[in-house]
Symmetry: C2
Subunit: 202 residues, 2 copies
DNA sequence: CGCGATTTTGACCCTATTCAAAGTCAGTGG
DNA sequence: CCACTGACTTTGAATAGGGTCAAAATCGCG
């Protein structure tokens, strides 16, 4: 969805500190958010206490478009700046502006598709492939990668978060990074900073 | 979404034989479907060939509400009867009827939420708990369970399908069923027919 | 400099997979 | 009605991949 369409709506700026909860699954939803700076994680908690991170949201991305209640929880991975739009206003926009309604619905659709493939990958890929796949997608995130090849990636989240996203433990993740280093697929350029050599230009 | 709202739209009946593909991920979408009889599976294929079943659809449920392209593939698990509605008509309905638009969007939202919890469960539950969880949800499906307690469930899909949904192998699934039988949590009442004793009334 | 959070390492274990083969079922045609 | 066939399910033995537990090392930050 274009920012321009939303700009006409009432909106305000929100700053949230690292680690803070933005909303919780099941609570009534009133606002749609756009990430301006930082990184947000969407997650659900299991009855057993194990949490599953569903996705990370980066600048320019929208999240929280729920009509009735929140379908996941949202937390600030880093200090974040968000723009908040009242859901009611977004709905009105949709009623008036066919194109905007389309784009919003398409956002939801794309979310299903991404989640479906995430489930597929997390279920069928070995740990190292999962991590490479994650790095590959992160490298395309302007706020994380540097756009060059091979890309340098600065992870905004902890290993714990990455592990909860890829369905691994932090220990395994650490071992996988070492193994990727040993096999020359990545190398480290600082703490949580990786150069993905395997993505070097052909 | 109420059937009544859709009934005003142009629609037609479709019969599809067991195993046939209804649509494929990525192809342009033109119709929304409602299951009238039988069972449909939604799935995505991995680059490695491993397929992940995302959900099973039963009578009265809608699927295929994609604006642009299909976000998953859909296949008939059994012979199925579907009602098809042109997406364009559904969109118009949404433009005129606020309430209908709401319900459709909520459908998409609920899909994300269900998928998220499925990912959580499949990632963190041991095999036996995953299977019990699956049976428990199936028992609430009028077309599958009998509504009584303890419920009798007739699986419309093969072990292979259940396994692809729960992220197990058919072999493991078979062993889990045996183990659940041994521990008195279920017993069999025919091929693919289970009585879930663990769900007996308190 | 010191603290708490995060990351790393090691040893061991466990669950589900793999591979292989036999058994069972439903539907088909004789 | 029965034999046949192909798909599905079951079983067994061996294995691997990631998890667990525990502890040490490191980092970021006040």
């Amino acid at each position: 969805m274009k920012k321009s369409a939303l700009e006409a709506l009432p909106h305000w700026r929100v700053s949230i500190a690292k680690g803070r909860t933005i909303y919780i699954e099941g609570e009534p939803s009133s606002t749609l958010y756009r990430v301006e700076r930082g990184c947000v994680r969407l997650l659900v908690d299991g009855t057993d206490g194990a949490r599953q991170i569903i996705s990370f949201q980066f600048p320019t991305q929208l999240f929280g478009y729920c009509l009735d209640t929140r379908n996941t929880s949202a937390e600030a991975v880093t200090d974040v700046e968000l723009t908040a739009y009242p859901i009611s206003a977004v709905i009105e926009l949709g009623a008036q502006n066919q194109k905007a309604a389309f784009e919003l619905l398409d956002t939801a659709n794309a979310a299903v598709q991404r989640l479906a493939h995430h489930l597929q990958g997390v279920s069928h890929l070995p740990a190292d492939a999962r991590v490479m796949w994650f790095l590959e997608r992160l490298s395309r995130e302007p706020a994380v990668g540097d756009g060059r090849m091979p890309p340098t990636i600065r992870l905004p989240m902890t290993y714990g978060d990455v592990a909860a996203y890829l369905n691994l433990t932090p220990q395994t993740l650490s071992r996988v990074f070492r193994q990727l280093e040993d096999s020359q697929r990545i190398h480290r350029a600082g703490s949580r900073v990786f150069v993905v050599d395997a993505l070097a230009p052909a």
